[in-house]
Symmetry: C2
């Protein structure tokens, strides 16, 4: 294997691939990344067994030569070292050459690295994917869907299936649900070209967080390929594979109340900021609890109290308050996460009583629903 | 106590004062900051017993009213909470009022905090300083002196006096020395108005690092007041007090070789970058050691070797090489620290043998001297 490549392009591709490489892996070869030089360009692959990322650097792009290929071939190099070496090379021209078995020379300017590589045949193959089930969404929409749901997954391994986000496709609609059993985030999306068959899978939250870092905030199409054990996202020159979680995701539809006793419409950003301030004095308490009190038909009061530090109260003007007066307490963190997912819009909050879960929606559309369980008041 | 103040100005003053507040203090009242409202303005004081910082917000500055004072007085508030509260207040107008003993109201917009304060009389007084011994330097010069020496202090408490930088004033010259007994940094500065008496003190490295964060990179004068137990830096509206370290600082002048067998002149930045790259493969080794080899009269080779990862070599062109051929090994980190202190200039490196300490200077002036002990080669 021997080729020259532009350092910037190599770094960019490495940046993506490194997101799959974990220093905690028990499989030694997965601490490396696989480099394959083929006629059409260079493939880099990184994996932690759950996530596998492959990026591609074409020989030529828009008339510009990016790779100068002398000899095809492949090698596995220590990911962390190779990445740091490329980052610090003195010039934008990098020559990579395998000789004497697995010894790999990396040259740039007067700098010469002689790295001990490993046999690329020992590196696991990419997951096998049959491509008959797939659909396409713009990258920015995939990112929104992730952002609006993934924060609500469980961080505890006691019910592993809850550490993922449930993706269900039925009747031309993608429904994404995450819950840690104290709160729930749900987002529905109409698909333009939905796959023919129904689909139901649980994608690890960690995979979605890494995917979100790799996707750019633009309208480029992402093709999503569905199989029973794996999901594959294809975006530009990147392939992102994630294993799916095993086990049945609980049916959450019955948790969501269909009627309410109190309805509050309020500016999401103003409420978020007031809760953020109130939570300053709630931090020492278990669960970071703040109190929410309706005041007539035009304001709510956010308050909290820490016996050692002091207390805080703040009025937030409401657009609309209907139904019963209410005093309810909840986790400031859960409420801020939910408001952040709805992002700045006016939000509608529907309460059915001080000990019943309540829901938040944007007043503009029903696509996003956030549900929070209150905390018993003191 | 009751006053209104602009939030931005309060935050700026708090930012400085917070640098002295430690969460690890064993003196409960020092987790707070003292606020004093006087006729001329507001004083904020924070301390961890070693460092004490006082900032001042004047009632009026350049014709602009910054503080509206209703009633003088003083209070101590929990530093961490007060700082976070001020940071998150909704408007730029902040009202602070003490009532019912030590209860302190902080109001901004519709947000009302009721904090539990403490008696300001329980807060330690500022160190007493007699001002007859003092001198003045521009802020940017104080910052340079700190930056060029403080990195070389010892991080081990086995010889506490080495965790500080020795400041000596004699014959109109300030000599600053730091050493951890493996390397040494020395910087001399001619003083325009030196104090009449000689002075010899050891300032904790931690104090100098915090002072460096507070001083701005400009030519505003900093007045430095010297006493046997404390040093005080006055810069604008900030007073920065540091306790001095006890014990005699070792005489380091005899460590510095006066002759050399090999002289190398090389671009500091080019050498720094080559050593940075070589250290990538030296990290797994004890002490991060790289090898430096002269090549004739015009180049040096920087190399390192990690049995598991590979090896690296790089040629750096030298401006000048005189004297004996040399192969020497040293800590990459110490060399990079020393080169950073000399900053980009051409550096002169004087060696007296593979196991003898060597020195680095700028070719342009003698003010900065860096000394490094080599490592026994393998």
């Amino acid at each position: 294997m021997k080729f020259e490549v532009m350092r910037d392009r190599l770094l960019e591709a490495l940046n993506d691939v490194m997101k799959a490489v974990s220093s905690k892996t028990t499989v030694a070869i997965l601490t490396g990344i696989k480099i394959e030089a083929k006629k059409e360009g260079i493939y880099l692959t990184g994996s932690d067994a759950d996530i596998t990322i492959q990026t591609f650097i074409p020989v030529e792009e828009d008339g510009e030569q990016i790779v100068q290929l002398t000899q095809t071939g492949s090698i596995v190099l220590q990911a962390r070292f190779f990445n740091e070496i490329v980052r610090k090379l003195p010039t934008n021209d990098v020559l990579i050459e395998v000789k004497n078995g697995y010894q790999t020379d990396v040259r740039s300017g007067k700098s010469e690295f002689h790295l001990i590589g490993q046999d690329a045949n020992d590196y696991p193959l990419l997951p096998q994917m049959e491509e008959d089930q797939s659909f396409t969404m713009p990258a920015e929409l995939v990112k929104s869907i992730i952002r609006e749901t993934v924060f609500a997954v469980s961080t505890s391994e006691s019910r592993p299936v809850l550490t993922g986000v449930n993706w269900q496709i039925r009747d031309g609609e993608l429904m994404c649900v995450a819950t840690d059993s104290h709160r729930l985030a749900r987002r529905s999306t109409k698909l333009e070209h939905a796959p023919a068959e129904e689909y139901n899978a649980v994608i690890p939250g960690k995979s979605l967080n890494e995917l979100n870092k790799i996707l750019e905030d633009n309208s480029e199409p992402v093709e999503i390929v569905l199989t029973p054990q794996q999901i594959l996202f294809k975006a530009g020159n990147v392939l992102f594979y994630s294993r799916l979680l095993e086990g049945n995701y609980p049916d959450t539809s019955r948790l969501i109340p269909s009627e309410h006793k109190t309805l509050v419409v309020v500016n999401g950003r103003a409420l978020h900021q007031a809760i953020d301030r109130a939570s300053l004095l709630a931090r020492e308490e278990r669960n970071n609890v703040v109190r929410f009190t309706t005041q007539g038909q035009s304001a709510v009061e956010i308050s909290s109290n820490s016996p050692e530090i002091g207390k805080v109260e703040e009025q937030v003007l409401a657009e609309q308050i209907e139904g019963e007066e209410l005093v309810i307490s909840f986790s400031a963190k859960y409420m801020m996460d939910a408001l952040k997912a709805i992002e700045g819009h006016d939000v509608q909050i529907q309460f059915t009583g001080v000990m019943r879960p309540f829901i938040l929606k944007s007043v503009h559309d029903d696509a996003i629903l956030q549900l929070i369980l209150p905390v018993r008041t003191y």
